[in-house]
């Protein structure tokens, strides 16, 4: 759990400077204290703007997904901490190109309060029309009947991609919002953590876990999961994750869905592929088809070990948008 950093209080600022220096053709730093990342170049007039925001420490989420066919701007807080209302308002201003702004982000109390407040502020001050779609895809974080309490995790990558493609097609704010909401509603995720990570400013692990233990259902900031026990064989973990996802939303024969097997950071792709074997078999046994599987590091918690699994159910519209071109430093779809 060792980190390469200088002053822990500058972790995020130095990281953003480096990211924009490495990819100046994609990212541009703006906003107070440079805490807004926008697309390089200027906004396409009358395109709906999509903004996200949240704490740092989840690359590519959130900032990394600014780019063509994805987000327009992103407000970024300290590690695991919400950006300020001001920064969120700035991100929205940057993203606004005359057609309004969609706020698309994960369901975390602090982020929601700040984004709501920023939205109200902007509607009052500048008359920018805006909408909100929250990702709440983590099935372990609340039972289905309290779905609105669920945390947003890797499902947001699908929402960024699909809503981003819709905006790129110059659809209206209403349409982009509908599509984003339908995508959010179509995503189910579950995670399992093997180790914690270290928040730079705190300097210590987010939680403790024994050397031979894992925790099923844990959140990406270390939020408690559904059980903690001895580390199980990979196939058992994969089966349990699939079981939990389909218990929440059944896979029907003929369904088409994308599947994400995501590393929380340290877990290497080798091990994601070991899990993917099982997921593919299970999904196909149910008569469904996997479209564009995503196996890799799409939403992380710095150097945490563990995985998450997301199902994104598709219809014709979402499938086409998922496969439309997109480009950021971490992900390219052609």
């Amino acid at each position: 759990m060792k980190k390469l950093l200088n002053d822990p209080y500058k972790y995020v600022d130095e990281m953003l400077v480096g990211m924009c220096a490495a990819h100046p053709e994609i990212y541009r730093q703006t906003g107070e204290g440079g805490r807004v990342i926008a697309r390089a170049g200027s906004q396409r007039p009358d395109k709906v703007g999509i903004v996200s925001g949240g704490g740092s420490g989840h690359l590519p989420v959130f900032t990394g997904y600014v780019g063509h066919g994805l987000l327009d701007a992103c407000a970024i807080g300290d590690v695991f901490a919400s950006p300020s209302v001001e920064q969120m308002a700035e991100a929205m201003k940057v993203a606004h190109a005359g057609a309004g702004v969609l706020r698309l982000y994960g369901n975390y109390g602090g982020d929601v309060m700040n984004f709501d407040m920023a939205g109200e502020q902007l509607e009052m001050e500048e008359d920018i029309q805006s909408t909100t779609v929250l990702l709440a895809d983590d099935v372990s974080s609340a039972p289905p009947e309290e779905g609105e309490k669920r945390r947003g995790v890797a499902g947001m990558v699908y929402a960024f991609k699909i809503a981003g493609a819709a905006a790129e097609q110059m659809r209206s704010l209403e349409e982009v919002t509908r599509i984003a909401q339908e995508t959010a509603d179509s995503c189910r995720s579950v995670g399992a953590a093997l180790t914690p990570c270290t928040i730079p400013q705190a300097g210590k692990a987010t939680f403790e876990i024994a050397d031979d233990e894992m925790e099923m259902g844990m959140g990406i900031h270390g939020e408690p999961g559904v059980w903690r026990d001895k580390l199980k064989p990979a196939d058992d973990i994969a089966h349990e994750m699939v079981d939990r996802l389909i218990a929440d939303r059944a896979i029907d024969s003929g369904d088409r869905l994308s599947v994400m097997v995501n590393s929380l950071g340290a877990t290497p792709p080798e091990e994601l592929y070991i899990l993917y074997r099982v997921v593919k078999k299970r999904v196909e046994e149910l008569g469904a088809t996997i479209v564009m599987p995503l196996v890799g590091r799409y939403a992380t918690s710095m150097e945490m070990s563990g995985v998450s699994m997301t199902f994104c159910f598709l219809n014709q519209e979402r499938e086409a948008l998922l496969q439309a071109p997109a480009r950021c430093a971490f992900w390219q779809v052609e």
């Binding site: 309060m113 709501d116 407040m117």
Partner: protein, 198 residues
């Protein structure tokens, strides 16, 4: 009282919050991310920055105070506090005078706005609970002095100590939170303590 009264209060309020920073960070570290003291210090430093520029209009002055918190912090408490201040600002728009008899009504709109913003209910062990207690006390006795209000807040803190936090980051540690003071409640007490009774 006029806005100049507020301007006079700010230096010692800021000082009191600086001296409470470590305590608040410590309380928040047990249940959250340990930044509550930082939030209060950053906010009050920003208040000192804008102190001279505060307009005579209570509405505008309170709005600026709210922004001192939204500008300097992304943490929940800053936003909740700013939300309350903004609600009061709307109420006082265009008025250069404020009377202590208005406090009950102002706290009421603030509380409603904060509840709406944070979607928390009373009784979930947050800053809302002492704000509500203080508001009720003022409503029943508009002449209540600051020291008595602080007493009411302390009673609320004591009363909730052995209940679990049900909202915010501390919700994750519901069991652990039993027996611990809610950091936001304590921060509210420190705010009131920073005001010199007149």
């Amino acid at each position: 009282m006029k806005v100049s009264w507020l301007q006079d209060q700010l230096p010692q309020l800021a000082e009191h919050l600086e001296s409470s920073a470590e305590e608040l960070n410590g309380l928040d570290a047990q249940l959250g991310d340990g930044d509550l003291g930082v939030t209060m210090v950053r906010g009050s430093r920003q208040l000192l920055e804008i102190r001279e520029e505060l307009p005579d209009d209570w509405g505008m002055a309170l709005l600026k105070c709210a922004q001192a918190f939204t500008k300097t912090s992304g943490s929940s408490y800053g936003t909740i506090l700013a939300t309350g201040l903004m609600a009061m600002a709307k109420q006082k728009k265009g008025q250069a005078e404020m009377d202590s008899s208005e406090w009950a009504g102002l706290l009421k709109v603030a509380l409603e706005a904060m509840q709406h913003r944070g979607k928390a209910k009373l009784g979930q062990k947050t800053v809302l609970d002492p704000v509500s207690a203080a508001q009720k006390k003022l409503e029943s006795d508009p002449e209540t002095g600051l020291l008595d209000l602080i007493e009411v807040v302390q009673q609320t803190i004591d009363e909730f100590r052995d209940k679990p936090c049900q909202i915010g980051r501390a919700r994750i540690f519901q069991d652990k939170s039993i027996g611990l003071d809610d950091p936001g409640m304590v921060a509210f007490k420190r705010l009131l303590e920073g005001i010199v009774p007149n």
